[in-house]
């Protein structure tokens, strides 16, 4: 079985060699990139739940960021209006995506840039590797980019003898630790300062052995380590937060200045970007440049935002390549409700408020996109190949509490999408059980109009399964692995969203955060 029919016409599994070009919406190609782990979520979560250090690191970090976000969001009396605009802008982009991409291409090209297209991860990696090789360089500096994580670019470049240097502090920690990212924004969120110090002492050539675990000292060690690279690199690879169709402008939002270094100093810049990152006009950035920093780092504005349009003589890279990536996005776009997952601006607010993410961390999700959005986006990009597909269990990585929807700056109704993906997951099950059917029925109910109430309606089902004791001690596949390891409390009569609104997420578990 190559793919699951999600109730839409003709979405197909990605062909490994791209030979079956049919012009139909296509899932990402199995075996490429990092959209799928090897272990089902419940099993991976089970392991992570036993890691108390991990839970402490995550609890502390997400607690801090939730507080900061709430503070800066409360400052704006037009926050809801900004969310509504952001959501509508992205819906408009999806409705005109091919046209807007052609407009972007035309504008980038008119300003001296080159535009490339990639059907899947392997093609994107090959295009980038070829562009790097053409410069004669055997190394690149990199700005943190989810798209290149998704395609596994660093590994693909290494196979071609090209070294990729991650320059974002968290990515550097992950790279030096021979580790995988666990958060969209802070990929090393699972590491605490003393673990980071150990990694630096072990892996950073020439580091001062007296290095302490003070974050300032650690950041300065990273600065010293990367400075020479920045000043001498010939080629940089970046992602993009936004691309503006009507001007051809690219936008990167960052904090440390490593982004500015990469976007400014090397002679060649290669930007890899998912096709959904568009906004229609330059002035539409006025919405997203307010939504993104407040939602992601909890700041009024991030330290640095860079925009550039093609090539500017005498300023910055004189060779600019933009690579536009499909890799399953067309399959997501083909689903009327599901396409909302493409609205995501990767702020990570939904991760930070998710009680499931907070306890298991990003690695349990397998895909580079963890947390609530990853739990829907990953299986939508890859398709669900059957009950043994690790991504089949991802839509169950949620209690449907609704906190993710409330936090999402572009109002993605993640609980509703999770329920729909559960239905897709059940569809892939050869012989549905009674519980499968119940879940499928629930999915139908929950995808009916009145989305806002969707998460609340889900509670009724949970309470039904829980029985009289008020604990769910076993759940139908695939949540059974999950409930084997711990009793899941039955959803309370008060909806989680109401609970969240009342408490801001601070419950008795606060005791374990310090």
């Amino acid at each position: 079985m190559s793919t699951t029919d999600l109730g839409m016409p003709a979405v197909r599994g990605g062909a490994r060699d791209g030979s079956r070009d049919t012009g139909l919406p296509t899932h990402s190609v199995a075996g490429q990139g990092n959209l799928r782990g090897t272990t089902s979520f419940p099993r991976a979560a089970h392991e992570k739940l036993a890691d108390t250090q991990l839970r402490r690191n995550l609890g502390k970090a997400t607690g801090i960021i939730r507080g900061k976000r709430a503070g800066v969001v409360a400052e704006l009396d037009d926050w809801e209006e900004l969310r509504l605009a952001g959501s509508a802008l992205k819906a408009d982009v999806m409705a005109r995506l091919p046209e807007l991409l052609e407009q972007l291409e035309e504008n980038v090209t008119a300003r001296g840039g080159h535009v490339h297209w990639a059907r899947d991860a392997a093609e994107a990696n090959a295009v980038v590797a070829e562009l790097v090789r053409a410069t004669g360089s055997d190394e690149v500096v990199k700005v943190k980019s989810m798209a290149t994580q998704e395609t596994g670019l660093n590994e693909a470049l290494a196979e071609q003898g090209i070294t990729a240097w991650e320059t974002d502090l968290a990515e550097l920690i992950v790279q030096l630790g021979h580790d995988a990212p666990s958060h969209i924004l802070v990929p090393a969120i699972h590491r605490n300062r003393s673990e980071i110090r150990e990694i630096f002492l072990r892996e950073m050539p020439g580091v001062d052995p007296a290095l302490s675990d003070d974050p300032r000292e650690l950041a300065m060690a990273a600065r010293a380590h990367l400075r020479r690279k920045f000043l001498t690199a010939k080629v940089a690879v970046s992602g993009a937060n936004f691309a503006v169709a009507d001007t051809g402008t690219l936008c990167v939002v960052e904090s440390e200045g490593n982004g500015r270094m990469c976007l400014t100093l090397p002679g060649t810049l290669i930007t890899l970007m998912g096709v959904e990152k568009l906004v229609p006009t330059f002035s539409d950035l006025e919405v997203f440049l307010q939504l993104l920093p407040r939602s992601s780092t909890g700041e009024r504005m991030n330290p640095y935002t860079s925009t550039w349009t093609g090539v500017t003589p005498g300023d910055g890279p004189q060779e600019f390549h933009l690579v536009l990536l499909d890799n399953g996005r067309s399959a997501v776009l083909a689903d009327e409700d599901g396409r909302a997952a493409l609205h995501c601006i990767r702020c990570s607010a939904c991760l930070n408020v998710c009680p499931v993410y907070e306890r298991v961390g990003g690695h349990a999700y397998g895909s580079v996109y963890p947390g609530p959005i990853g739990a829907v986006l990953s299986p939508m990009l890859t398709g669900i190949s059957g009950p043994d597909d690790p991504n089949a269990s991802l839509p169950y990585a949620s209690s449907l509490c609704g906190a993710c929807f409330d936090a999402c700056p572009v109002r993605i109704d993640i609980p509703n999408l999770l329920v729909q993906q559960r239905a897709a997951s059940v569809e892939s099950h050869p012989r549905p059980t009674a519980q499968d059917l119940a879940l499928r029925a629930a999915a139908l109910v929950m995808s009916s109009p009145g989305r806002f109430a969707a998460a609340e309606k889900g509670l009724a089902l949970g309470r039904l399964l829980a029985g009289r004791e008020g604990r769910i001690s076993s759940l139908p596949w695939p949540l059974s692995h999950w409930t084997d390891s711990r009793d899941v409390p039955a959803p309370p009569a008060e909806t989680a969203r109401q609970w969240w609104a009342r408490t801001g997420g601070h419950d008795e578990q606060d005791g374990e955060r310090s």
């Binding site: 003709a10 139909l24 919406p25 296509t26 690191n57 502390k60 970090a61 801090i64 960021i65 209006e81 900004l82 509504l84 605009a85 509508a88 091919p98 052609e102 297209w117 059907r119 502090l169 968290a170 920690i173 090393a188 969120i189 605490n192 974050p215 300032r216 950041a219 990273a222 920045f230 000043l231 001498t232 904090s255 440390e256 200045g257 490593n258 270094m261 976007l263 100093l265 330059f282 002035s283 006025e286 919405v287 307010q290 780092t297 009024r300 504005m301 991030n302 330290p303 640095y304 860079s306 925009t307 550039w308 349009t309 500017t312 005498g314 300023d315 910055g316 499909d326 776009l333 009327e336």
Partner: protein, 217 residues
Amino acid sequence: MSGAREEVLARLRAARDAGAPRGGVPPVPRGYHRSGSLAPGSAQVLDLLVERVEDYRARVLRAGSDDEVAGAVARCLDEAGSRRVVVPADLAPGWRPRTGEREVVEEHPGSPLAVAELDDLDAVVTGSTVAIALTGTIVLAGGGPGQGRRALTLVPDHHVCVVRAADVVETVPEALARLDPSVPLTFVSGPSATSDIELDRVEGVHGPRRLDVVVLR
């Protein structure tokens, strides 16, 4: 490669139609504030800017005249111990730090300094294009008056930036409306920073570790 282009576009066209919302796409509601309640350049908007920039732990000095700008710039440089200073060739003459103990290098667009030369300099003094009071953000336009190319405000470790009152607006939309997207733009909100270690904010990583702002009324 053209095969990939045609295939991706064909997939997306099919997907656009297959997943088209049955009710069509509603117009974008613009109920958010597209302008602020404080007039650009007003005393209140300047106060807000100063408060918000200081919140990022950047230093802010106020000046009432070009002469006072030069004095404030000199003070910032002295306090940081920055002796070798670069300025874009078109920086307003009145804003330049007086030489003396300092060495001031001019960069002309026709003869850019090598990166290694920039790295040898202690500080850069520039103007700016727009500032956003609400977020404490200063926008530099590459090649804009007194702003130089992007590398100039990036490599030296200390940036002294002059903001004119008339360029200060309250909100993000007002700022974007004043900007030209065809030139490279850098939005600067405080010195470089990272929160990557336990989400603890550390100021000063790869970008200039010290940012001083001189607000000219």
